[in-house]
């Protein structure tokens, strides 16, 4: 990055909010389980108790500590989202760059595959796979990634097509730079903003997807997840537990997604010189 990133960033409220949220949830995801006061699978407490000093968010219907459960659920959900988002980004960038740079036959094949995948509804595949095979969560995350890359890929390819005509890429090619050199040194760094958008939107999508699948009860019921917590909490909605049982997972889900989105938006603004100018004028 050629930009003096730090100075601009620290003045950007989007970044500050996004960063704090992201850090908070990253911290919770990493340190959550050790922080958890109880084992979330321990069913030895009296079911459906209101919050108390020992059980910050009370006890659920199965006699488990909701706060501990929440910490484990955040970890699972965030990990699913990140794994899926990163994988989709990786596949999308490489295939998009390769497709745009080499063109011709490779391009035609890859883009047709992308079109086919785009036509398949991801949720349907996931529901069917989860219901029929009950795979581990990370397998589902990878399956989801393999369904999400085409949009990233299309954007990267379009950008590559315009970049390959740019003078500095032509110069590098004249200097003897091979495809690998150009993709690595020119194309991939140049498209940084695109990754941020792609990554943020795909991670968001994956987190939603995980929550939905868990909500539908398609995961192993013992696996803690925000979606599953919401689903169970809804069953006891009539019991005035919504504020200590239903709200926390919903709030966490929203805040995670907000954090990632804000973070991506602020980085993108700083990295894109045109947006950056606007930012500098605004904050000046």
């Amino acid at each position: 990055m050629h930009v003096n990133v730090s100075r601009d960033l620290w003045q950007d409220p989007w970044f500050l909010v996004g960063l704090s949220l992201t850090l908070l949830f990253a911290g919770l995801a990493l340190l959550g389980p050790p922080l958890a006061p109880f084992d979330p699978w321990d069913i030895s407490f009296s079911p459906i108790s209101p919050p108390s000093a020992t059980h910050l968010l009370g006890i659920n219907d199965g006699g488990q500590d909701i706060f501990s459960e929440l910490l484990y659920a955040i970890r699972n959900t965030v990990a699913f989202g990140l794994l899926s988002g990163f994988t989709a980004l990786g596949i999308g960038v490489i295939l998009g760059a390769v497709s745009g740079w080499f063109g011709g036959f490779v391009d035609a094949i890859l883009m047709r595959i992308a079109d086919i995948i785009l036509a398949i509804p991801a949720i349907m595949i996931l529901i069917l796979t989860a219901a029929l095979f009950q795979p581990a969560a990370y397998i589902l995350a990878l399956i989801l990634a393999s369904l999400m890359w085409p949009t990233i890929s299309k954007a990267i390819r379009a950008q590559t097509l315009s970049l390959r005509e740019s003078l500095h890429v032509r110069a590098a090619s004249q200097m003897g730079g091979g495809s690998w050199h150009i993709i690595r040194r020119h194309l991939i760094p140049e498209m940084f903003p695109l990754y941020l958008i792609g990554f943020a939107s795909k991670t968001r999508m994956a987190i939603f997807m995980e929550a939905s699948l868990a909500f539908l009860g398609l995961f192993d019921p013992s696996r803690k997840s925000l979606g599953m917590m919401i689903a169970y909490a809804l069953k006891y909605y009539y019991m005035e537990v919504w504020w200590n049982w239903l709200m926390p997972p919903i709030l966490c889900l929203s805040l995670v997604i907000m954090g990632i989105t804000f973070f991506a938006i602020s980085l993108e603004r700083v990295v894109d010189p045109r947006l950056r100018q606007a930012l500098v004028e605004k904050t000046a």
């Binding site: 990055m1 050629h2 500095h168 032509r170 003897g176 050199h181 140049e190």
Partner: protein
């Protein structure tokens, strides 16, 4: 009379080492002919002149022979030498007045050879001397003066009179014009002309190239004691064959050349021989070339091989080995392993079409090693396409491309990188040709990274710094870490230049390198380009629409019109006497002479005939019907049915 020098070697003893002043010099000057001996100072020109008179100092060892009218001069026989001196061979030394006796009146000095050699009476001799002095344009009141009362030019004329008074058959003039102004040179010129018409053989030693071209028939170019090229005198400016001759020509401020002066890369050396007690052929094997400042540093120069290779623009490995012999090449003889200046780049009948638009019609382009060839023409004339075809960036539809004598397409397929490192390219827009995500260091180091050069720690940065210093940019850490948007256009273009040069290419292709710069920055960048061209012995293909700019730097020019090259030749001829009406139009436009009629845009792609016909003032019927053939006018090639043959 004629003068013939056969295999002359001269070495000056100098303690344990001796200096090789002349080596294997063979020359023949027929009667009524004038040969000019040119070369840098220290090349042995004067030694050769003195050797002809047996005037070499005692520490000189001489081999080979000098014949006058077929009769060998015996340098040991002083009496025989004395009759030869003045009577048959006379020499006019350089530094005019220093060669005159300050205690005698000049007329007496001029008369003296007559009295000494012919035994003529004093009065008669003085009368004769007066006549000769008068012929030299010296007024009578000067005759009785002493040398210190004369100006340099007048002293020179006195010396000429002395040499001429016995009417010798061989005349050796050593720098006769160096102290003279342009008008007085005429006197020397007249002496040479008359001498030739009266059957004298004249050896003109000079570094005044223009004078040499005007006065002599033929020319020998001397470098470090060896003759590098002999050529007809009038081809010196238009058709030099040896790289040294080209460099020498470029260093000379000739009137008809608009190009900025160039020099010759590197330093002039002198040669020493280590004496091992035997005077035979092996002397040659022990000779070294040394830089004057470090006269005791041995062994960094070849014991054999071409003497010029370190400064040559086209040296190959072979040039360091093997003994170089003379070879005949047309009217020239050259001492060069590559038989004179080679073609660095040769495009033949290259053609390029973009769908229905023809960007290049079959075009030939030859760029010789060490020269700056410029492509000029209006926008859309195919200059950039041709240059990029030469760079290997654009693949032509038809035609062949040779680089350093090898087929480019085959080379590219086999090993593109080794070709790429020999060609550096600078693009029109420096800001766009650098990735804005690269720092200065990363930008200049990119070719090194691609070619995996400078992998050792620190070497990469050192190379980058050296290159940045070469293009006069800062090399400190802070600058290396700056990004393009923090720098101005001039600095960016110099960074591009550094990037193009960092791998040490042989050919530099510059596509409108200064068009985005303001005039002052443009001047700096151009100056830099020229300096680098000389320092590194680069060959350059320069593309520009600005003929005013091109005239300052080009050796040769090619004029492009609608994908064709309509005129090409030496820059001086094209600029002073353009043959194609289109070239005249281009030059006139630069001068601010705009003819509405002629500047009418030409949008149509012509079907047949001349591409310029619709705008041409000399257009006739045939111009619309037949494509004009390429014809040679002097050293210029022009594609026009009715080329103009008058100066602009």
């Amino acid at each position: 009379m004629n003068l013939e020098i056969k295999n002359l070697d001269v070495a000056y003893g100098n303690g344990g080492h001796s200096i090789q002043a002349l080596e294997d010099v063979s020359l023949k000057i027929d009667q009524g002919r004038c040969l000019a001996l040119v070369g840098e100072s220290g090349s042995g020109k004067t030694t050769l002149g003195k050797a002809c008179l047996g005037l070499l100092p005692n520490n000189a060892r001489q081999r080979g022979c000098i014949l006058i009218d077929g009769q060998e001069i015996d340098t040991n026989d002083e009496t025989a030498l004395n009759t030869i001196r003045w009577e048959r061979v006379a020499m006019v030394f350089q530094n005019g007045a220093a060669n005159l006796n300050p205690a005698h009146r000049i007329i007496d000095q001029v008369a003296e050879p007559l009295i000494q050699h012919r035994g003529v009476g004093r009065d008669e001799a003085r009368g004769h001397a007066a006549k000769v002095l008068e012929e030299m344009g010296l007024p009578e009141e000067f005759f009785d003066r002493y040398p210190h009362q004369l100006s340099g030019g007048q002293a020179q004329r006195v010396l000429l009179s002395m040499a001429m008074i016995l009417d010798p058959g061989v005349l050796i003039l050593d720098e006769p014009t160096s102290a003279l102004d342009a008008l007085t040179k005429g006197v020397v010129s007249r002496v040479i002309e008359e001498g030739m018409s009266r059957g004298k053989a004249i050896l003109l030693i000079t570094h005044d190239l223009e004078f040499a071209v005007r006065s002599a028939d033929s020319m020998a170019v001397l470098y470090l004691g060896q003759i590098m090229e002999t050529l007809p005198a009038d081809e010196l400016f238009s058709n030099p064959l040896h790289p040294y001759t080209l460099a020498l020509k470029r260093s000379y401020p000739a009137m008809n050349s608009a190009r900025d002066l160039g020099g010759i890369r590197g330093d002039a050396f002198y040669r020493t021989i280590h004496q091992h007690g035997h005077e035979d052929e092996s002397d040659y094997l022990h000779s070294h070339i040394q830089v004057p400042e470090s006269s005791h540093k041995d062994g960094h120069a070849p014991p054999s091989g071409c003497l010029f290779w370190q400064r040559c623009t086209q040296a190959i490995e072979e040039c360091q080995k093997g003994r170089v012999r003379f070879e005949q090449a047309g009217a020239h003889t050259v001492r060069c392993l590559r038989r004179g200046i080679v073609d660095m780049l040769e495009l033949k009948d290259v053609e390029k079409r973009y769908d229905s638009v023809a960007a290049l019609f079959p075009v030939d382009l030859t760029v010789k090693a060490g020269e700056i060839f410029s492509l000029v023409g209006e926008t859309g004339s195919g200059k950039t396409t041709l240059a990029m075809t030469a760079a290997g960036v654009i693949r032509p539809d038809q035609g062949s491309r040779l680089f350093e004598g090898h087929d480019m397409d085959r080379w590219m397929k086999k090993d593109y990188k080794s070709l790429a490192r020999r060609i550096g390219v600078i693009y029109q827009n420096p800001a766009e040709s650098i990735s804005h995500r690269f720092s200065v260091l990363e930008t200049v180091a990119e070719p090194l990274d691609i070619h995996r050069v400078g992998l050792e720690k620190g070497e990469r940065v050192e190379r980058v710094k050296k290159c940045l210093a070469d293009v006069h940019l800062s090399t400190d850490r802070a600058f290396l870490e700056r990004y393009p948007h923090e720098l101005n256009m001039g600095a960016l273009q110099r960074i591009c230049l550094a990037r193009a040069l960092v791998l040490g290419p042989r050919l530099l292709i510059a596509d409108e390198p200064t068009s985005s710069l303001d005039p002052s920055v443009q001047a700096k960048v151009l100056k830099l380009l020229l300096d680098l061209q000389i320092e590194r012995g680069l060959t350059m293909l320069f593309v520009s629409h600005d003929i005013g700019l091109v005239r300052k730097i080009s050796d040769r020019i090619g004029v492009m019109l609608q994908g064709q090259m309509v005129e090409r030749g030496p820059a001086s001829s094209i600029l002073s006497q353009p043959c194609h009406p289109y070239t005249r139009l281009l030059i006139e436009s630069v001068r601010g002479v705009f003819s509405v009629e002629l500047n009418r845009g030409n949008n149509r792609q012509y079907a047949s005939g001349c591409a310029f016909a619709s705008r041409c003032p000399d257009r006739r019927d045939i111009c619309d019907k037949q494509p004009p053939p390429l014809r040679n006018i002097g050293h210029v090639q022009v594609a026009c049915h009715f080329p103009v043959e008058r100066p602009l």
